[in-house]
C-alpha cells in the first residue's frame, strides 16, 4: 500500500510506517483479520478486548477531529470496521454465526421468513417442527405459571431452558473444535439456541414486578 499522505510505502499497519498517517482499511478483510487473528471459534475474549481497546486508542475519530479530510475518513472507516468486528467476535453466538456465514452457511431468522422483504432467508435453515412444538409448549407453561402467579414454576422453567440453551451452545463450541466441523449440525444448534434465548428473554421479569436490584 502506498500512503495517501507521504506517497511512500505505508506498510500494512493502521498507520503509515513512514509518516504515521492513518491508512484506509482493507475493505475485504474479515473480522478476524481486522484483529490479526486466525479464523476460529475458540477465542480469548479478554485478549480480544485488549486488542480492541488499544486499536481504538489509535484509530478513534476524536484523534482526527481537526485533521485532514482524508485522515478523518480513514479513521472513521477503520473505526466502523473495528467496532463491527468487535461486536461480532466478542459474542459467542454472533461469532459462531459469522464463522458459518464465512463458509456459506446462513443462519437467518428461525423460519427464514421473519422478514418478508428479505430474499435470502427461505433457503436457510429448515424448521425443526419438534423444536417448534417444544418451545410452544414451554411458552404455554410459562404463560400459565405466570397467570397463576406461580413464581417457583416460572423459575423452574427458566432454569430448565437455560440448561437446554447452554447445552446447545456447548455443542456449538464442541462442533467447531472438531477436525471437520459439521456446519449444518452447528447451524441447527444455533437455531435451537436462538429459540431458547427468545424464551428466556420473554421470561425475564417486567418493569414493576422486579424485586430490589441485586
Amino acid at each position: 500500500m502506498i500512503c495517501w499522505s507521504c506517497e511512500k510505502n505505508a506498510g500494512d499497519g493502521m498507520l503509515c510506517a513512514g509518516c504515521g498517517a492513518v491508512q484506509p482499511p482493507d475493505r475485504t478483510a474479515d473480522h478476524f483479520r481486522v484483529f490479526g487473528l486466525p479464523r476460529k471459534f475458540d477465542l480469548d475474549v479478554a485478549d480480544l478486548e485488549r486488542r480492541y481497546k488499544e486499536m481504538t486508542k489509535v484509530l478513534h475519530p476524536d484523534r482526527f477531529a481537526r485533521a485532514d479530510g482524508r485522515a478523518r475518513r480513514a479513521s472513521l472507516e477503520r473505526s466502523v470496521q473495528l467496532n463491527l468486528a468487535w461486536r461480532t467476535l466478542s459474542q459467542p453466538v454472533a461469532r459462531a454465526e459469522y464463522l458459518l456465514s464465512l463458509q456459506g452457511v446462513a443462519v437467518g431468522e428461525p423460519t427464514g421468513s421473519m422478514r418478508s422483504e428479505r430474499p435470502d432467508n427461505r433457503a436457510t435453515q429448515p424448521v425443526d417442527t419438534a423444536l417448534l412444538v417444544e418451545v410452544m409448549e414451554l411458552r404455554e407453561a410459562l404463560a400459565e405459571a405466570r397467570a397463576r402467579g406461580d413464581s417457583a414454576k416460572v423459575a423452574t422453567l427458566v432454569a430448565g431452558v437455560q440448561v437446554l440453551h447452554d447445552k446447545e451452545m456447548a455443542e456449538v463450541a464442541a462442533g467447531f473444535a472438531a477436525g471437520q466441523p459439521n456446519l449444518a449440525a452447528i447451524a441447527a444448534r444455533l437455531v435451537a439456541g436462538r429459540y431458547y434465548r427468545r424464551f428466556l428473554e420473554e421470561a425475564e421479569p417486567h418493569e414493576g414486578e422486579e424485586g430490589p436490584a441485586k
Binding site: P25, R27, T28, A29, K53, T56, K57, H60, P61, D62, R63, A65, R66, A67, D68, G69, R72, R73, L76, E77, S79, V80, Q81, N83, L84, W86, R87, S101, P110, T111, S113, M114, R115, S116, E117, R118, P119, D120, V127, T129, L132, V133, V135, M136, R139, E201, E202, H206, E207, G208, E210, P212, A213, K214
Partner: protein, 634 residues
Amino acid sequence: MAVETLFEISEPGEAQTKEVRRGRAVGIDLGTTNSLVAVVQAGQPICLRDQLGSLLPSVVHYAADGSVVVGQAARGLAAQAPQDTIASVKRFMGRGPRDAEVTRRLTPYEFAPGADAVVRFSLLGGRRAVTPVEVSAEILRVLKARAEAALGGELDGAVITVPAYFDDGQRQATRDAGRLAGLDVMRLLNEPTAAALAYGLDKQAEGTFAVFDLGGGTFDISILKLEGGVFEVKSTGGDSALGGDDFDRALAARLLRQMGLPEDAAGDRSLTRRVLDAARDAKEALTKLSATEVVIERRPGDVWRGTLTRDELDDVVRPVLDRCEPPARRALRDAGLEAKQLSGVILVGGATRMPIVRRLVASLFGREPLADIDPDEVVALGAAVQADLLAGNARKDVVLMDVVPLSLGLEMMGGVAEKLIHRNTTVPCGAVQTFTTYADNQTGFDLHVVQGERELVADCRSLARFKLTGIPPMPAGMARLQVTFLVDADGLLGVSAREETTGKESSIRVKPSYGLTDDEVERMIRDSFAHAERDVSERLLVVERVEADRILQATRVALAASADLLVDGERAAIEAAMAALETSKAGRDHLAIRAAIAALDAASKDFATRRMNQALQQGLRGQDIGAVESKVGK
C-alpha cells in the same frame, strides 16, 4: 457480509477540510436550570466564573426595548414579566407544539399560535416570537463572551453537552443553538459521559461505574467502564422529560392547594412564577433543613405564609422520583451487570443533592454514591476535557467510546420496524442489509427511517422518508435493495440505498426537522419496556401472518394453474393444510402459524417439485435446440 459497502456513504462535511489549528476550546454544560463553561488550563479543567460564580442561571428575559438579559438578573425579572422571561428552555428543545402539552400544565409562558412544527414563545404581548433554539443561543452567547474574556481571544471550538437520552431532534436543536451563538460545535457530548471523564481523570477511577444524572429537566443513567484511559459507555438510558423542575411543579401544586387556590393558579402567570420560585427555594432549603417557612405574595399586599417539612417534600417528590427506577434497571441489564458488580455510582446534577434522591440511589445500587466533584460543575469539567482532546492539545492516552442511545431502523411490510442498529452500539458504526420487493412489478421502494425501541413503526419516532424509484418491473423477490446505515462519531445518521440488479442509488443525511416530533414519542419510549413482550409477539404475529398470506396465495395460484400435476389425494391434503393455516392465522400464536406454514410446505413439497420440473422443461422447450445443446455441454 459486505463490510466494504459500509463505506460508500460519504462522511458529513468531508469536503470541508477543517482548519488544523490548536487552541482555545471550551466545554459547555447547557443545563435546564444553570449553564456553565469550563476550559482546560495547565492540564486541569476549571469552570470559568463571573462575579456571581460559575453558574449562569438558564433564564433569558426579553425587554420591551429589544434588549436581552440573561442569568441571575433575568431570574429576578421573571416574577414581574413571566411571559417575557424564559426559564428551563431546554425542556422545549427539539419539541413541537404538541409535545409541549405535557410540560405546559403549569408554565407561565404564552405560546405563539400557528401550525408551526416548532414551539415558539410569544413575547411582549405578541409583538415578538422566539424559538427555543434562539433562547438557548442567548445563553450560549453569554458563556462564549465569558470564555473569550477569560482566555483573551476568540474561541476555536466548543463541546456542548446533551442528555444521553436526547433524541436526534433534540441534538440537532442544540447544535443549531451553538451555531446561532457563533460557536464551532466540535461535538455534542453526552452528559453522563462527560461526568465520567471528569471523575476518571481527576480521581484516577478505574472499573465500571454508573452515572446517575438528575438535572433540572432530564434524567440520564449511563454505565461506563473506565480502564487504562479508555472510557467505554456500556449502556445508557433515561427520561428526557424528568427532573428537578418536575419536583418544583409538583410542590407548587401542593402549595397552591394549601393556599386555597386551584392548581393552575387560575391562569395567573405572575403568581405561577412566584409559586414556582417559592417551591424551588423551599426544595433547596430542605436539602439541609428539616422544615422551612414559605412566604408567597398572593396579590400585592396579600401575603401567604406556611411551613413545609422535608417529609412533606418527600411525599410530593416520591411519585416523580419513582420514574427513575425502570431506566436505571434497564441500563444495568443492557450492560449485562448486576448492581453489586459496579465499582461505584457517580452523582451528577443539582437534584442529586436532595437527601431523598441519595437514598433512592443508595437503595437501587446497594452502596453510597460518590459526589466528591461538585455535581453542578462535573459535566462542564468533563466537556472541557473532551474539547481539549478534540482540539488536539491533549493527552494521547485517553479515548471516549460512546453509544447510540436509541435503536435505528427501517419500516418493513406490515408496519413493523426492522432495527439495523441497536441501542447501545458503540459509535461510529454501520450496518448493511438487503431487502427485496414484496409485490410483482414493484418499481420503487419507500424507505422510512425510524428511531425507537418499539417493534411497530407507529410507536417509533419517524426520522426521515425517501424513495428509490426507477427499478424495472420484476417478479416479487427478484430485486435486491441494499440499505446502508452509517452513524458517525457525532451520532449523526446517514442512510443510502442501492438496487443491485440495476445499480440505482439514493441516499439521505438524516437531519430530522426538529419541530416535527411525534407528541406521543416521549411517553412511548418510556413505555417501551412495559410493552416489550406484547410488542415482540405482536411483531412476530404480523410477520408470520404476512408470510402465511404469501404462501396461501402462491399455493392457490399453483393449484389453479397445475391441477393436472396433482396425484390422488394430494389436493385434499394440501387443502386441509391450507385450511389449518387459515385457522391458525386467525389466532394470535405466531408459533402455531409457523408450524402450520411448515405443515403446508411439507404437504405441497412433492407437488411443488413436479411443478418446478415442468416449468424447467417448458422453459427448455421454448429455446432453440442449439442453445439447449450448448447448455447440456454437447
